[in-house]
């Protein structure tokens, strides 16, 4: 073949498949084109040396601190929350329950209403299930991030986990509250998982803001050895299921925590 053009050589370097074998064969035989390719390579390699100033160790936090005051509160309006794809199914179920209750109320005789105490208990449980579900989701995120954190390159001596540490501190307060509530409600299974989660959160919240790769590895091992991430995921899914069941059959939901504790 004729000597490939500069554009063809650059495309070849980029891994372009068109005429690849032909150019490859030509390069084996033509020193001039090999030299041309090396020169292109040399320019691109030199350009890689173009320096980008290091924005500093706490850059991530600084960006957030400057940004946060500019962010408008994104309080989801009640209808927006229910329009999220994941919640649409729940919204549909709730609507079906309300319609069914309305229809049943219209066609049934008065005097057969459920005891008030049982209803209040169901409401409390429902609030706990939703709130703890959210809490476990947030905790899962922090634990996953910590498990995935690593030194950006071999040379980095310390890893900044300040963000995870602060969030673990915030979650700790919530966790204590939910654990106590779960205990009061007799949901010992949930209380036990929250207790284990609390220990991990205490661990993280009391770690230094920036840790050595060895310290990070030790935190990661503690998370792993307790299998807490797995437990949090299982309980999170179970709570989601409970929430769905409550929406589908509100009167039976109160019995489920008791059954789970027995199991």
């Amino acid at each position: 073949m004729k000597h490939p053009t500069e554009e063809q050589l650059m495309a070849y370097r980029e891994g372009e498949t068109q005429r690849r074998e032909e150019i490859s064969a030509h390069l084996k035989e033509c020193g001039e084109c090999r030299n041309e390719l090396e020169r292109i390579e040399a320019v691109l390699k030199a350009l890689e040396e173009f320096p980008v100033p290091d924005p500093g160790e706490n850059y991530e936090r600084q960006v957030w601190q400057r940004l946060a005051p500019k962010l408008p509160e994104k309080r989801a309006r009640w209808w927006q929350m229910w329009l999220e794809p994941r919640r649409l199914a729940t919204a549909g179920t709730l609507l079906a329950v309300v319609v069914a209750a309305f229809v049943a109320g219209r066609f049934s005789k008065p005097g057969g209403s459920a005891p008030v105490a049982a209803t209040q208990e169901q409401v409390r449980e429902r609030i706990l299930v939703v709130a703890v579900g959210e809490h476990l989701g947030k905790s899962e995120m922090v634990l996953v991030e910590l498990s995935n954190a690593e030194a950006q390159d071999g040379k980095q001596k310390r890893v900044n986990i300040a963000a995870e540490q602060r969030r673990a501190g915030d979650l700790l307060e919530e966790n204590r509250l939910y654990r106590q509530t779960a205990l009061q409600q007799g949901d010992t299974g949930l209380a036990s998982v929250l207790d284990e989660l609390e220990r991990v959160l205490v661990d993280v919240a009391h770690s230094p803001e920036s840790v050595t790769p060895a310290q990070l590895e030790s935190i990661q091992k503690r998370i792993e050895s307790r299998g807490i991430l797995f437990k949090v995921r299982v309980v999170g899914k179970e709570l989601q299921q409970r929430q769905d069941d409550m929406n589908a059959a509100p009167t039976q939901s109160g019995q489920q925590a008791g059954e789970r504790n027995k199991t």
Partner: protein, 212 residues
């Protein structure tokens, strides 16, 4: 796909969903995770720290405002990159206009010397490694990059420094993949013409030094 990349995407997706559900603090995870990469891209596109910070802030602000339009299945990192690159192009055009206006208004100039953006952002305490880098090479590169059109610089930075796909770059440039490939090629060609004589001279100096 790499497992850790996949799990990062998953936690990004969870964070996006939480922000959409009204949890503003969940956005902190996304900002803290991607700010360093956006900073690098912005600096490479604008070449100075002042505009870089402006691009970083604006990119995350716009991403927050448009989060409702974000497709849950796509990658938040790539998305915010696109927003940053788009804004950087606008910013560079705006800066060019401002500079032109200033130059015509102030025909005398301050002291007649040209401000070197690389020198402006030089670290207060450069590492020994950085000190060893040739200042002249940096100046040459900066000059060569400045000579590129905004589209060429964006195409080159995104393709060769940030490893972005042609489709992503085409989306930023509002162009098609074939024209985008051509823009990348033109950029490399121009950089080559500008830097090769300098690199050849440097290589010759090295050879001479080793012979002595």
């Amino acid at each position: 796909m790499n497992e850790s990349v996949e799990s990062l995407r998953q936690t990004d997706a969870i964070a996006v969903e939480r922000v959409l559900a009204g949890d503003r603090d969940a956005y902190r995870t996304l900002v803290e995770r991607h700010s360093r990469n956006v900073h690098r891209l912005a600096y490479r596109l604008t070449g100075n720290s002042h505009d870089t910070e402006d691009v970083v802030q604006e990119a995350f602000l716009r991403a927050y405002q448009k989060l409702g339009q974000f497709e849950a299945r796509s990658n938040f990192g790539t998305w915010v990159y696109r927003i940053a690159a788009n804004y950087a192009i606008d910013r560079m055009r705006q800066r060019q206009k401002e500079d032109a206006r200033r130059e015509s208004a102030d025909a005398h100039g301050q002291d007649g010397t040209e401000q070197d953006p690389v020198a402006l952002v030089r670290d207060p305490a450069p590492s020994p490694e950085r000190l060893m880098q040739s200042t002249q090479l940096r100046r040459e590169m900066e000059r060569a990059l400045k000579e590129l059109s905004h589209a060429e610089r964006t195409a080159f930075v995104m393709r060769h420094w940030e490893g972005c796909g042609i489709e992503d770059i085409a989306a930023v440039l509002k162009s098609n993949p074939s024209a985008t490939k051509n823009t990348v090629f033109r950029a490399v060609q121009k950089l080559r013409r500008a830097l090769e004589p300098f690199l050849d001279a440097r290589a010759q100096t090295k050879v001479m030094r080793s012979e002595v």
